[in-house]
Symmetry: C2
Subunit: 141 residues, 2 copies
């Protein structure tokens, strides 16, 4: 079985935050909207249905955990979740915090957001906050 | 607990295909792109993380099943999955078959597709095809 290698475009556009059980949790480096990217550490997977069932079960929990983290950190009006991959086929799931006050509301943000990067200190602060959150907790289990 | 009631906008824009274990499987009535909508039959849920863990496990399997159905029926180049809900808050998950030849490739389709409805016969044909697929099968379990 091939090893997991992060697609160079994902490596360039997002920043490693922490490893979850299945996924790398990454921060999309676009400061105008809180935007996480979950990348399952599995080789040669471009679609959710190509994961094994056990990995899919982990994936939906990690999507929920990332969503809850954003609710806790930012109290958004809505979470947007998407697995698109038309440009970067390696499976990656977007978890985005949306606000009625954000400039693109209610449109989806993909392909429409200004690519303004975070300052280094802002990234460090977000990583610290994400590391303080219990990603193993599933309160509604 | 409140009963599940389909949001009127989802009822107007999509067509009931069949019930899965958790979700209503609906066809978005836009003939330019094969587009399913999964609506969990749960009241007062707008986010994936608000579902119980057992429902989330069902949801990811039904997303995978809908994706596999599209692979089987249309052999698309990519599946796009999204839970957005900025306009219609009731949780619903888009599963869309994308082709490198489709007019919007590689952009996401949300908010950009011409709203041209299916003919009645086309809907009946798609329903028949979807009913012939085993949505309980999880070959990679």
């Amino acid at each position: 079985m091939a090893d997991f290698v992060l697609h160079p475009r994902l490596a360039a556009d997002s920043i490693f935050m922490r490893d979850l059980a299945l996924c790398q949790l990454r921060l999309n480096n676009v400061k105008s909207v809180p935007w996480l990217v979950l990348v399952p550490r599995r080789a040669d997977i471009s679609e959710i249905h190509q994961l094994g069932a056990a990995d899919r079960a982990l994936l939906i929990e990690e999507i929920a955990q990332a969503s809850r983290a954003f609710v806790e950190l930012y109290a958004p009006d809505k979470i947007n979740v998407g697995a698109i991959g038309n440009v970067v086929p390696q499976l990656h799931i977007h978890v985005i915090a949306r606000f009625k006050s954000d400039p693109l509301w209610p449109d989806p943000v993909w392909g429409r957001v200004a690519a303004e990067a975070y300052a280094a200190e802002a990234i460090a602060t977000i990583r610290q906050k994400l590391n303080a959150i219990d990603f193993g907790a599933n309160p509604q289990t």
